[in-house]
Amino acid sequence: MTVVHETKSLTGNDAVAIAALYAKPEVVAAYPITPQTTIVEKLSQFVNEGKLDAEFVIVESEHSALAACMGAAWSGVRTFTATSSQGLLYMAENVFWTGYGRLPIVMPVVNRCLAPGWNIWPDFQDSMAFRDAGWIQIYTKNNQEVFDTTLQAFKISEAKEISLPHMPCLDGFVISHTTAQADIPTAEDSYEFVGPYSDPVVEIDVDNPWAYGAMTGPDQYSQNRKDLIAAMERAKKKIVIVHKEYEERFGRSYGNGLIEPYGDEVADLTILSMGTIGEESQEAIDRLKEEGMSVNAARVRTFRPFPTEDIVNVAKKNHKLLVIDRSASFGHDGQLRIEVESVLKRYNVDTPVVGRLMGLGGEDVPYSMIMNEVKKVLKE
């Protein structure tokens, strides 16, 4: 069962658009925002060229972009949109509606700083602000992974037992606008992997009417929430399963899908990070090892659902963790650091944790900067 890949030079946004194209959504909503814009532009091109047979809804705001996708999802069809930063904030109530309403919508977020001031460079404040909204959140490190993740997203989200929306995250500009090579499978193989959305989790039916999201009391509502919690647990397993299926079909993987370890299994210091800082950490690890230091890394790919068991295992095996956050929950600390420490405490793992905020505001985080931090931490 061989698949053919074509090595393409493309930007991260191109990779997102092509993955979306191959998944064959039937309703696509489009609203531009830097640095997501080229995704929707590319999709409009595909529609124009007849490659994408979708209803292309050029909405008047992001709030409407997600709303239109929700309408399509309720109608039982596959749908797609993408956003970033202020746009994600503008559609906030719909983001929660989609998560809590269990609509399987795939919506990549190109991470960009939140205003004020106007800063189009990457950090994770935007997607982090929605970690409570009931969406699967996976942070990617490069164009290749963005393609693979977006394609897998449909399969994970639309599974009947999951039915959760999915937000593949990619660093603004560093991934979205940087041209790099990626191996892209054929449209046929890609669609075959995802499969048609033939058994929708919800579908409007005039012969069997129901009301969605009507007034409700604590009873039904809390039942819905309990199932949401359970679905997130099921999603943890599903992400790993689909990731494995993808590896078997297309030959690519990123750890087990939840976290991606790098380097030796045991080291004096383990770097935990997300996104492109994760890839940059790998470079830092290689060079630090050349200098004779004992370091490894574990890139957190899936932030929601939180990969508790995997993080605990990494911490148990290693001696110290350096958690790098590209966002902060002001008044406390970086979100990844907070959550890592909390699960370690829960499972009685006393591996010390050090946190660093790096890359906030889109500040460049080269491997040299990471190396310096590692050295500082090892001295502490």
Binding site: E26, V27, A29, A54, E55, V57, I58, V59, E60, S61, H63, S64, A65, A67, A68, C69, M70, G71, A72, A73, W74, S75, G76, V77, T79, E93, N94, W97, I204, D205, V206, P209, W210, A211, Y212, G213, A214, M215, T216, G217, D219, Q220
Partner: protein, 300 residues
């Protein structure tokens, strides 16, 4: 195709079941019963936060016997667009997508979304039933509140001129725009039927009496709605993009001329929200009402 009372008796199935949550004497529920009832076997309803979200039901079940998607306040027309497009993809364009919301969403918070759907000529009908306030939250002033009306946020009477949503839709190239009232239900259903038979973005505003917020007797609901037409407060018309012309509806024809109109005080006196309108405010209300008529007359 004229609609008679007999037609109202023969609907495919009940769209709203008995024992719903609407207040006694609610104009919106009455309009729903007949309008949605007339297409109950092929309608998909989109309901933004509004009185309809509440009178739909709570907890055990819902009174609406048709597929209903509840949405965030400003989202209805975008959700409706998504549904309409999906139905097109599925080859189910015979199903009618109808937004059923109040003036809060249609005149204010949802207007950008509404105009966006209108611009794109989405194949949906937006029905704005208006009680001239944010009814669901206790009667605060909305864009559709008339001058002089006391509301929860305008205790001395509203001073801001009334937003005329139908005219906004006309200016935005809607396919069909109509005003209606529960006082003339046959006219209402006729316009509703006309609207859903057309393709593109259609808009209807229904004058919807509201005893609690208007501080009126529930038994007076129809009477007040009728007086709104007879006093000229509520022009009854339909406008079609094909002709670019507005036609005054039969029940309202007489009242185009101000001399034929019933004195506005007959309408204000039945409502606590307007009963103690000052002479000054009354003058401004009349003048603002004429502003509407002047605009409308350009299309007659």
């Amino acid at each position: 195709m004229t609609v008679t009372q007999k037609d109202l008796l023969s609907i495919p199935k009940k769209a709203i079941l008995k024992g719903h949550f609407a207040c006694a004497g609610c104009g919106s529920a009455l309009a729903f019963r007949h309008a949605i009832g007339s297409i109950a076997d092929k309608v998909i309803l989109v309901v933004p936060a509004s009185c309809a979200s509440v009178y739909q039901g709570s907890g055990k079940g819902v009174a609406f016997n048709v597929p209903t998607i509840n949405t965030a306040f400003a989202a209805s027309d975008a959700v409706a667009s998504g549904i309409s497009r999906a139905m097109k993809k599925k080859g189910k364009e015979d199903l009618k997508v109808v937004v059923w919301g109040g003036d809060g969403s249609a005149a204010d918070i949802g207007i950008a979304t509404e105009i966006g759907a209108c611009d794109r000529q989405e194949n949906i009908l937006h029905v704005m039933y208006s009680n001239n306030v944010y009814g669901n939250t206790g009667g605060q002033r909305s864009g559709d509140t008339m001058i002089g009306a006391k509301t929860a946020t305008t205790p001395d009477g509203n001073t801001i001129p009334r937003k005329m949503v139908p005219f906004i839709m006309m200016a935005n190239n809607a396919r069909y725009v109509a005003t209606a009232t529960v006082a003339y239900l046959e006219d209402l259903v006729e316009k509703f039927q006309k609207a859903i038979s057309l393709e593109g973005f259609k808009f209807m505003q229904i004058d919807s009496p509201c005893p609690p917020n208007w501080r009126s007797e529930s038994s007076d609901s129809i009477k007040i709605a009728r007086l709104a037409v007879q006093t000229g407060i509520w022009p009854l018309f339909e406008w079609n993009r094909d002709t670019g012309k507005a036609v005054i509806s039969r029940p309202g024809k007489k009242y185009v001329e101000t001399e034929n109109r019933t004195p506005i005080t007959e309408w204000t006196n039945l409502q606590g929200r307007l009963k103690s309108i000052t002479a000054e405010q009354l003058k401004e209300l009349k003048s603002d009402t004429e502003r509407q008529w002047d605009f409308l007359r350009k299309f007659l």
